[in-house]
């Protein structure tokens, strides 16, 4: 008997398999797959860039002035000191990336980048919508810390792959949260819910699903909307068009324009709706207006795609902030719903959200879910566990759930208080203009009505950071910084028009 090779032999040179003659085979690769490429005259995002107002380009220029002039300073200092480094090895050919341009900073996240670089002690970041305490600090909810502690101290927990659709408990609880525990759609098993990467991921997966399975490829998004919306849907394979929404004259809703634009949309078109606390304007339809929107949309078979990033954060009440959505579900119709826990549970960086599709029947919901899995698997296989576990832990425990609602209300109340304080501060300064929209608008953001010149001025002279569309995050304000902001606004509107 020959000696059996030992597993240790794995490390030593392995016996080479004898290579059979390959004469019988051709030398060409066996199979080829090439979907016909649509002619790509312009990159998808080129359209978005062209659509950006010149203000953004001016803003980018301004930002560049704030950045250190020499790139790669760390690399430079590293190489100068180390004599053992080789020069660049000889390249076989020049870089294949030679033609790739530097991409601009994301307009929203780029604000924080610029803010971080500013050395001024009076700087205020009103850019990205992340909640800050009265002390200006980021906050992790107490109930979230507790849930996390429970999870981490549980010795029996594992980190096995979640199913493609995510954590089952989380999905069920999320659907109940937004649609209501007694929702007929849930009771009839007509809701397909998949855990996704926060709001963005839910929107993207929903968009990809529609691009593949829905007969209409156009999605109508409100003008204005969150800057990332058009990019998400375009890359998902849909065409984004806008419907009128914000009326700068009234700093309120252009309801007539909205109805007209949705009326003239092709039957079956998809319509993006902000469930509450519209971003960036803070302007929401009233319930009566929602009802009119619902009737119009159903009469034209327009497909609602709700983006709910602020449930509970807008008014302080989870149910109240879900009314618009539930109204649409109650009529028995179909819709998509992208849910985020970034703000209302402060889970920003954990990327927790869910996409729900309310379908006509339970059978259809099963099929829809199976197709959602085909979208997700080649994108990231399955979603991250940690944040979803925290959410599920809180939602399923009634004491923790109650604690959450209290903390949520406290955040919402603080924001409302900032609105009042800012409004009063402008009144005291007799700042020209009607600033009542500050207290009328809802949610984390205020659409100030400041123009991009004024925004740039406030950044340069007062070190106040906001997006160039004049949107400020009230969550980034405190009693301490309100006076500074009021001064800045006052100066901007009196000095620049």
């Amino acid at each position: 008997r020959t000696q059996r090779p030992h597993a240790g032999a794995l490390r030593s040179p392995r016996p080479r398999p004898s290579i059979p003659p390959t004469a019988a085979r051709g030398t060409h690769p066996r199979r080829s797959y090439g979907p016909a490429h649509p002619s790509r005259a312009a990159m998808p995002t080129a359209n978005v860039r062209a659509a950006q107002p010149s203000a953004d380009r001016r803003l980018s220029t301004l930002v560049r002035h704030l950045l250190p002039s020499s790139p790669r300073t760390s690399a430079a200092t590293a190489t100068s000191a180390d004599s053992s480094l080789q020069p660049f090895p000889t390249m076989a050919s020049p870089s294949v990336f030679a033609g790739i341009a530097q991409g601009p900073e994301d307009p929203i996240l780029g604000v924080t980048v610029a803010y971080n670089k500013d050395p001024s002690p009076v700087k205020v970041n009103l850019g990205v919508g992340a909640y800050r305490t009265e002390e200006g600090k980021p906050m992790v909810l107490n109930v979230v810390r507790r849930a996390e502690q429970m999870l981490i101290q549980n010795e029996s927990r594992v980190k096995e792959y979640l199913p493609i659709t995510g954590l089952a408990d989380f999905n069920k609880l999320s659907a109940k949260l937004i649609f209501g525990a007694d929702s007929p759609a849930i009771q009839e098993n007509r809701v397909a819910t998949v855990q996704c990467l926060s709001g963005t991921g839910s929107l993207r997966v929903g968009g990809e699903f529609l691009a593949r399975h829905y007969h209409e490829r156009t999605i109508y998004i409100p003008q204005p909307t969150w800057g990332n919306h058009p990019k998400v849907f375009t890359l998902a394979g849909l065409t984004a068009r806008s419907y009128r929404y914000y009326d700068p004259a009234t700093r309120g809703l252009d309801f007539q324009g909205l109805l007209e634009d949705l009326s003239s949309a092709p039957s079956g078109a998809i319509v993006l709706l902000h469930a509450c606390a519209h971003n960036p304007t803070g302007v929401d339809p009233t319930l009566e207006q929602w009802e009119q929107i619902r009737q119009l949309m159903r009469s034209k078979a327009l497909l609602p795609f709700f983006d709910s990033a602020y449930q509970g954060f807008a008014s302080g009440s989870l149910d109240k902030d879900a009314q618009s959505v539930r109204m649409f579900v109650a009529d028995g119709g179909e819709l998509l719903m992208a849910q985020s826990y970034a703000k209302n549970m402060g889970l920003y960086g954990e990327r927790v959200g869910a996409l729900s599709i309310v379908c006509g029947s339970a059978d259809i919901a099963v099929k829809v879910e199976s197709q959602l899995k085909l979208v997700i698997r080649p994108m990231y296989s399955n979603p991250p566990l940690h944040g979803a576990s925290i959410v599920a832990t809180i939602l399923k425990d009634s004491a923790m759930f109650d604690e959450w609602t209290l903390e949520l209300k406290a955040m919402a109340d603080r924001i409302i208080s900032m609105r009042e304080q800012l409004f009063n501060a402008l009144k005291i300064r007799e700042t020209p203009g009607d600033w009542s929209h500050i207290i009328k608008q809802i949610g984390m953001f205020t659409f100030t009505g400041l123009n991009s010149d004024q925004v740039a001025f406030m950044r340069q002279e007062y070190h106040i950071y906001m997006t160039s569309d004049g949107r400020i995050s009230m969550a980034g304000l405190s009693s301490r910084t309100v006076p500074h902001l009021a001064d800045a606004i006052h100066a901007a509107v009196t000095k620049l028009k």
Partner: protein
């Protein structure tokens, strides 16, 4: 608003817009675990998905991971959004691990790294980048390869074709076929290579073969694109398992590398990995990074913190890093033991004289048994052994106690079916 259940609102649309949506087939890999769960037999064995199991066939969280999480809990850090490119300390750690902290390309700032959603997410970002900036290029993938590779490139609309890899006659590498196919491909193709522990075959090129591959790839101006999902897990050594990547980088080539910490740190569900692009110059790396960010933002905005912090904490602390290496060696060692026992059982029980030594020469979590579809079905239907239909078994799901049963099943399926 109360749900009155009796609402006088007409105009709800009755017909579903999704009536025509067909039922999708279950995922060939992840679907195996679902089927396994549904099986009530005592004898059932899950050799489907590549998730590590202990000798007791239980999932396990690495001790060093538990330690890191407790540490993170104590630190009480916030949960703010990461930048689009991810957690800086993680990005530094992951590039250092892959290339070696002293690697000139790192010191020269030539590596663009984005934290991404494990291996899949890294591959998908790279695919999206290829589609946008190299619209005429094709990706060459091994035959066979991980099933999801094709889905990723299909969804990203990147054309692909296969190069020969697995030779069923030898249950080994068809190196000549591989070289020929890569050579025949149009110049500037992206060649997807498994850094180590090829999935599903477990068959890796030798160092000499890697050199030859680098020659051909360089000559054809192809772009090497490594999928590194098992660094440290294949041989037990982080450096050894990265040697193929480092070989290409040392030559001065520009290289794409997708990394995953699912297996080597057992962080499966936390979705932690990175896409790295080693470029010819630092300003190139900056531009490439900026464009990768523009692809990530409309996909998920920014990546999840938890897994990234775990990796950064483990790699950043010398004690924990040492502990990690030990635990990884143990995992790799258990798999080698199981390979040995399986080989011994097969050789003892099989009277046909078939050469089962490929079980020992294959490396990593998987073994390509050479069983065909009906034979794999027999494994499941008759023996309650769950595996993927391409004949791949995950040795991570096997223990010493089950080796004999598995050997019986393999011998039966091989000889008595089809």
């Amino acid at each position: 608003m109360q749900n009155t259940g009796h609402i006088t609102m007409a105009l709800a649309v009755d017909a579903s817009r999704f009536e025509g949506v067909p039922m999708a087939p279950p995922d060939p890999i992840l679907g195996v675990s679902e089927a396994f769960k549904a099986d009530t037999s005592d004898l059932k064995l899950n050799l489907g998905v590549g998730a590590y199991r202990t000798e007791e066939l239980q999932p396990a969280v690495l001790n060093v991971v538990k330690k890191a999480e407790k540490l993170m809990l104590e630190k009480g850090e916030n949960k703010e959004y990461l930048p689009i490119e991810g957690f800086a300390a993680f990005n530094k750690a992951t590039a250092d691990l892959l290339l070696g902290a002293d690697n000139p390309v790192i010191k020269q700032g030539r590596v663009a790294t984005l934290q991404s959603l494990s291996g899949t997410g890294s591959l998908r970002l790279a695919a999206a980048f290829i589609q946008r900036y190299f619209p005429d290029a094709k990706v060459l993938i091994s035959s066979p390869t991980w099933g999801n590779h094709k889905n990723i490139f299909n969804d990203a609309r990147v054309p692909w074709s296969e190069y020969r890899y697995y030779d069923p006659k030898t249950v080994g590498l068809d190196f000549e076929g591989m070289i020929a196919d890569i050579q025949a491909a149009p110049e500037g193709s992206f060649v997807l290579l498994h850094g180590c522990a090829h999935n599903p075959t477990g068959i890796d090129p030798t160092p000499e073969q890697w050199e030859k591959l680098a020659d051909v790839i360089e000559e054809k101006k192809h772009m090497p694109f490594f999928d590194v999902a098992y660094q440290g897990f294949a041989s037990g050594s982080l450096d050894e398992d990265a040697s193929s990547v480092r070989l290409f980088v040392k030559r001065g080539l520009e290289v794409f590398v997708a990394q995953s910490y699912s297996k080597n740190l057992g962080l499966y569900a936390e979705r932690i990995g990175a896409i790295n692009v080693i470029c010819s110059a630092p300003e190139v790396a900056d531009r490439v990074k900026s464009q990768l960010k523009r692809l990530a933002r409309p996909m998920y905005s920014n990546p999840p913190i938890h897994g990234a912090k775990i990796v950064a904490n483990v790699v950043g602390d010398p004690t924990m890093f040492g502990e990690w290496k030990e635990e990884m060696e143990q995992m790799a060692g258990r798999i080698k033991n199981v390979r040995q026992k399986l080989y011994d059982s097969l050789t003892e029980k099989d009277q046909s004289g078939k050469d089962w030594s490929f079980i020992l020469s294959q490396i990593g979590m998987f073994s390509f048994t050479g069983l065909n579809r009906p034979q794999s079905d027999n494994m499941t239907d008759k023996w309650h052994i769950y595996m993927t239909k391409d004949g791949r078994i995950s040795l991570a799901g096997l223990n010493l106690a089950k080796c004999e049963y598995l050997a019986d099943a393999i011998i039966d399926s091989f000889h008595n079916v089809n």
